[in-house]
Symmetry: C3
Subunit: 344 residues, 3 copies
């Protein structure tokens, strides 16, 4: 495993940053301000950590110009140090080797089309009519179902299942255990027989370029039309996207969020961890939902929205929670008192 090395000056040039200090210093990795050593690069984005800047042993720090006076080591100056750091750090990531070709243990249907530059890992199963475009990497145990397409340069880390009629754009990254294109949960209640009748799920899923799908996340295919994620949508782990949901570009959802059927989420939305959106609702662009909130009506205006009550010591909480059951009565009694008071 050969080392990855860049001088400070080379990093400055590559990412169009200016540097102060030792441009010849060789950087071979990244670290936190507290943990980085003299051959590592760190960053200061949140001013809360300014005190760590003076003491850092990092070889170079990416920071805003205003923080230069507090920096004892070399510096790369950026308007947005976090974004600059993200770009630089990518240089130091070692991805597993993925040689082009199909692993001998993979099972590939005759009618599947696989680019010669794609890498298909052990025990992958690629079914009829599937298309694997240039530069795709399928880690071990991926299943690409009938009539699914994996766009160029996409990477399915391991054990990803595309069930059927799923199209991934270019540079899509999918983490292990994700299931895309599973049956939507569509049932009709047959009251004559007192039983459920399943609605066939005849649509598909379309995922735009540059999307990321977290581990064990599930995205159901549409009942008739498709479930859609526009480009650059970012989903964390264990998210549930139901059938016919539409998610606008650049929206991000934190772990365990869930969106019910046919909801339409705008662009640049931020959905907090374990937040939920009920079915058939619409969220405007640039709506933020805080963690564990439940969206029960459509939201027409950008902004931040919340539900829930604050955490308390259990004994205090019990008293308050018990009172919640009588809130309507209290409000009436309050109004009655006010009326009395006004009549006096």
């Amino acid at each position: 495993m050969s080392a990855i090395n860049h001088t400070v000056a080379a990093l400055a040039e590559r990412f169009e940053l200016t540097f102060k200090g030792d441009g010849a210093r060789v950087i071979d990795g990244v670290g936190t301000l507290a943990g980085a050593g003299p051959s590592q690069l760190s960053f200061l984005s949140n001013s809360k950590y300014t005190t760590q800047l003076a003491a850092t042993c990092a070889g170079v720090v990416v920071l805003r110009e205003e923080n230069l006076p507090d920096c004892q080591t070399s510096a790369l100056i950026a308007k947005d140090p976090y974004v600059a750091y993200a770009r630089i750090a990518a240089l130091f990531e070692r991805l597993p080797a993925a040689p082009p070709g199909v692993h001998p243990t993979a099972v590939v249907a005759a009618s599947a089309r696989i680019s010669g530059s794609a890498s298909i890992g052990p025990c992958c199963v690629i079914e009829d009519g599937a298309v694997i475009e240039d530069g795709v990497i399928l880690g071990p145990h991926c299943i690409i179902g009938e009539h699914c397409t994996v766009g160029a340069q996409s990477r399915l880390v391991a054990r990803v299942t595309l069930v059927t009629r799923v199209t991934l754009g270019r540079r899509v990254l999918v983490h292990p255990g994700a299931v895309i294109g599973s049956d939507g949960f569509g049932l009709a209640f047959d009251s004559d027989h007192g039983r459920w009748i399943k609605l066939p799920q005849l649509g598909g899923v379309r995922i735009g370029d540059d999307c990321e799908i977290g581990a064990n996340t599930t995205i159901d295919r549409g009942a008739l039309d498709d479930t859609v994620l526009e480009e650059d949508v970012r989903l964390d782990n264990q998210i549930q996207i139901a059938h016919n949901v539409y998610v606008g570009a650049h929206t991000a959802m934190a772990g365990c969020a869930a969106v019910a059927g046919s909801a339409k989420i705008g662009r640049y939305c931020m959905i907090g961890g374990n937040a939920g959106v009920l079915g058939h609702l619409e969220l405007a662009d640039r709506v933020t939902i805080t963690a564990k909130s439940l969206v029960t009506h459509s939201i027409r205006e950008p902004g931040e929205y919340s539900s829930g009550v604050p955490l308390q010591d259990n004994r205090q909480w019990r008293k308050n929670a018990a009172r919640f059951k009588h809130l309507d009565e209290y409000a009436r009694r309050l109004s009655a008192l006010e009326k009395d008071s006004n009549n006096e």
Copy 2:
């Protein structure tokens, strides 16, 4: 891929419906009122969409008799159009081919018994004492653990794990990533050593006929007795069913619902998305729990139950949520004022 075709008259006869209009029209698929073309069938169930009926290009629409006057195209008349549509649409679903036999990459224990009419997909692993009944389809990467039985005509779409002592009834449908029969979460705290002791999970799981289990759903096996789903239980994705839970027939749960150990859910219950039921509780038949509610006590009467507070603009919500911490105090102060007022 040959087309699937049915005339309107043939559909009427098969599903015991009456038709109006062009019985000879050939239908080769289904669609929404807004999207269906002249060779497709659509439906009108929710009167909210009646305005779309006049404009639809669908070749035939399934609807209630009362909506006939608004229909410009052929019609199939049904008492419950959604149920009739569900049955008809199933004709147009193309399931992946699943030829009988065991794929050469599957690994089958000598003591497993597999029906000659079953289809065992690539990389499946079938362990000692497992039984696969007639007409079963195991998609790729399914694992059928020791002493598990998959009932006749059941389909495990792909990558389903039955861990041990799991029995699936007939026509059970399980989606990718589901894990059934994993260890229940049973721990005893050994206070002498300050450590957890694991309780062996010696029971199994019994799933009734016609159940459906969603993607990445988990159902633990019982500690001593079995975890049980009666017939026609419908579970969406990412549901968690803990050990020794008992779910009555025809109950449906939406995505991300969770039921803790030894809870007993009645028949015909509806558990909303991300709702939770605490351990050892009982829910009567025909109980509905709305999304994200937490059931903290047993429910003896049918009906709809909820918890949670409404979504608001974050700034308003913060003010109200802060007040919640003093609700008990407010109630006392309100009572004190009333007492004063009465004494005056």
Copy 3:
């Protein structure tokens, strides 16, 4: 399958308990007080079940000395019957056979090191630089990514994915569908281009001895430093642990709990089902969070904490929930009335 048999006297000796009654009685399994037969052992821990003790058909019952008078059958006397039962019951668990060696369908990288006493199941994939220590059991379909280590005597039941730079201690038990070492959800928003930039996730995951990880649980690897679980941490199914979380020894989390990035949980904590902890918070040792609560601030004192409101009949709940939106106003009106009242 030969039977597992122990006499009551042998159990008493092995677990350092005293017995009353028939020491020669042969026990071949365990059961509930209500369900156990004369060759089975049961236990009484919760005094709620004392009435079942008189009627049990169990061959022997593990109980506290104080319950002896109510016991008609043989008894094993324990200070903590639940812990004693857990230890005894483990004798009667039949684990699947796992002969040492590598299954012929497994795919093992040349640079991986596998102990001769390890058992590697069908279709496992073991990548470069991975280490599998003595006595490890990998069930079918496990993926051990680059530079991962599985400590001695650990068992990965089936279909477990360790992505990269994951180290499991000794005797770690991981259930099917768990994903450990997936990318943390680290994004920087590039406002110049209106797009997300991914932060490479360069850290790993360290799991201590005797941890248990539930089915479909996900644990992301750290962005720079590692995500850490100390020893004897017990995670139920479908739990989400984000990057750089630190969980203290002996902490247990129930199903569907979620911990956001860089949160630090103390030792001996109990996190309830579907509870959440926001990012960068700290929880002291011995903190209990009840089910579905959201932790929004650090907790410095041991104790039990809660959020949420109680479940009610939907009609009553709607009235109270609507009032919640005006709670701040009510509090102000209450204060105003009090002021009026005092001024009178």
